[in-house]
């Protein structure tokens, strides 16, 4: 433990609330869950979120919550490196931005200037926009981990409610959290990202360990939820082959893979711009300083290694699951 550990405020010791967000019921609910937080009134969330020279790594030790009303774009078309699993029209939305977990390789560190978390309290506006789309498949937990934040924001619950009221809309909620109970709905996919303990313990701070995540997957399947497993991003470390083989075997040992909807596999890849920023912020990071190949604005493992990692993972998973249910981003 660092000698300065006791010097930091607790997570969400400070909540910045946009004046326009004060009257929203979600604001009162969230503030009610943080009775000891210092509340600072702000004009616009960007006044805090977008400040220059922020140190996102330092802020990870005591992130603040920002409650705001999103009056900008609410739903986006999926980006080229995102998987759409061959489904419908792919969209994503960000009713929250940033995450309370702290994965060293997280693209959010490159995307935002801060580790503070924004929670937009006008969820009904998001819902209205999504209802206008035809045959959409919407990832709602892309720039955040909604389930990880749910005890505080309640947003994962709100999306479950929305999915249950709109059975024609397919929703995906991705998480590294280990929720005890999830609501099963045919149009709601719970996507659990699983990482080997060797990776989680080194690069995924504050994230529940693999056994807890597996327990959550087990419970979700038992309760009839639609479950997707994501072995993505695979991170290169010495001995990766054995490490990831071990992971799949461990998962197959615990989970009835026949009951999983599908499995996604991907190696670490990131926008070169984000990577540049992350290297600056984390000069000691093993993941970020890997000698990546840069092509088309993205950094990825050298082709040969990348293929080897993907092929290996797919073949190990293929021992348990038929190929048609394994998706890659290639």
């Amino acid at each position: 433990m660092n000698s300065d550990a006791g010097c930091y405020n607790k997570f969400f010791s400070h909540v910045y609330v946009e004046k326009g967000a004060l009257e929203y019921p979600d604001t009162s609910a969230i503030l009610g869950r943080l009775p000891y937080a210092e509340v600072v009134c702000i004009d616009h969330y960007k006044d805090v979120f977008n400040r220059s020279h922020q140190d996102a790594i330092a802020q990870k030790r005591s992130p603040a919550m920002i409650l705001a009303v999103n009056s900008g774009e609410l739903v986006y078309r999926g980006a080229p490196v995102c998987q759409s699993f061959g489904q419908r029209e792919f969209y994503y939305t960000a009713s929250s931005m940033n995450c309370s977990f702290d994965c060293e390789y997280c693209f959010l560190k490159g995307m935002y200037n801060t580790s503070n978390i924004v929670c937009f309290v006008n969820l009904e506006d998001y819902e209205r926009e999504i209802k206008k789309l035809s045959n959409p498949y919407v990832c709602v937990s892309y720039d955040t981990d909604l389930i990880g934040l749910n005890s505080l924001t309640g947003q994962a619950d709100r999306w479950v409610e929305f999915a249950s009221e709109n059975p024609e809309i397919l929703i995906e909620m991705r998480t590294k959290a280990a929720p005890a109970k999830l609501t099963p709905l045919p149009n709601l996919i719970y996507a659990f990202t699983l990482s080997p303990d060797e990776i989680a313990s080194r690069f995924e701070k504050n994230v529940p360990p693999l056994r807890a995540r597996l327990k959550a997957v087990e419970n979700a399947i038992r309760d009839g939820c639609t479950v997707r497993l994501c072995f993505d991003p695979m991170i290169y470390v010495e001995g990766w082959k054995d490490i990831y083989t071990g992971l799949v075997d461990q998962v197959a040992d615990r989970i009835e893979l026949g009951k999983v909807k599908d499995i996604s596999v991907g190696t670490f890849r990131i926008s070169s711009e984000y990577l540049k920023k992350m290297r600056k912020q984390m000069p000691r990071s093993e993941v970020c300083w890997f000698p990546f190949t840069n092509a088309g604005g993205y950094a990825s493992y050298p082709e040969e290694l990348d293929n080897e990692m993907m092929d290996h993972m797919c073949s190990v998973i293929g021992k348990y699951v038929d190929e048609g249910r394994i998706f890659t981003w290639r």
Binding site: D47, H53, D55, P302
Partner: protein, 274 residues
């Protein structure tokens, strides 16, 4: 290192005594420094323009880096319910309406407040109009300059309430301001203690590739690639010296010319990922 910015001597005196700071003559902003060099106090003069100038001048003069902490300590006016010293979480410039938010990462015993910086003394009417607001004359100027040099979690403002506003400058004598800081000195010192404890971020710049770059016959781009590979070695706990020695033994290094050097760099990468 901690850089404390205080408007006038009477506000600074209790701190100078507490930390046994010695005069460190400077022009145009006089200052004081602790014997261990961990605390430097700078007198800015009154008003936001001078506060801004003092911060900018000090940042340049002392080569302040983003690992240093800049603290504005001073007095302020406040409503009748406001007493004691406060850690400031929001600064409003009373003239432009601009706001600044220091990051509140650190836990101190001080209560928190917003503050409005004005160009003339806040009056009793001002302080009565918003009981929760504090009023001073430097905070926004201090922030305006500080934010250019250090991240927002390295910007700190502590303000001790000296009065409930004044209609005349004469009411605010040195003794009043001095005693506002003195009365709250233990709390302020406890906060300073926290900031002194914050470990300085280890600065890990690029590694010095020096002679190695020569061996690879590096161009500027190749040198940067080589540096990154060496950083990766360090970060992943691999010994680059061992790989390089192996390449020397195999006659790959030193490279005869630039093209051979490019090949050697690829080979270095390949061996590293083996």
């Amino acid at each position: 290192m901690l850089y404390i910015f205080t408007a006038i001597y009477c506000e600074a005196e209790p701190l100078i005594k507490r930390y046994d700071l010695s005069p460190d003559a400077g022009y145009p902003f006089g200052g004081f420094v602790s014997s261990d060099g961990r605390i430097r106090l700078i007198l800015t003069g009154i008003g936001k323009t001078l506060a801004s100038a003092a911060v900018a001048h000090s940042c340049a003069r002392y080569r302040i880096s983003s690992d240093d902490i800049l603290i504005n300590i001073g007095t302020c006016g406040g409503g009748t319910a406001r007493t004691g010293a406060y850690l400031i979480n929001k600064v409003i410039d009373g003239d432009s309406g601009r706001t600044f938010y220091p990051d509140m990462l650190y836990s101190t015993p001080l209560g928190e407040s917003a503050i409005t910086t004005v160009s003339v003394f806040a009056t009793p009417d001002d302080t009565a109009a918003d009981e929760l607001m504090l009023w001073d004359m430097e905070a926004s100027g201090f922030c305006d300059a500080a934010r250019l040099f250090v991240p927002p979690h390295r910007i700190v403002l502590i303000k001790a309430v000296s009065d409930n506003g004044s209609d005349s400058k004469k009411d605010l004598d040195g003794e009043l301001l001095n005693s506002a800081v003195s009365r709250n000195l233990d709390d302020i010192a406890a906060a300073i203690e926290v900031f002194l404890k914050i470990g300085e971020t280890a600065v890990c710049g690029m590694s010095d590739t020096g002679d190695l770059a020569e061996e690879f016959k590096c161009s500027e781009t190749m040198r940067s690639d080589l540096e990154k590979l060496i950083i990766y070695c360090r970060n992943s706990g691999r010994d680059h010296v061992e790989i390089i020695d192996g390449m020397r033994r195999d006659g790959i290094l030193p490279a005869a010319h630039r093209n051979a050097g490019k090949g050697a760099l690829n080979e270095f990468r390949r061996r590293l990922l083996q």
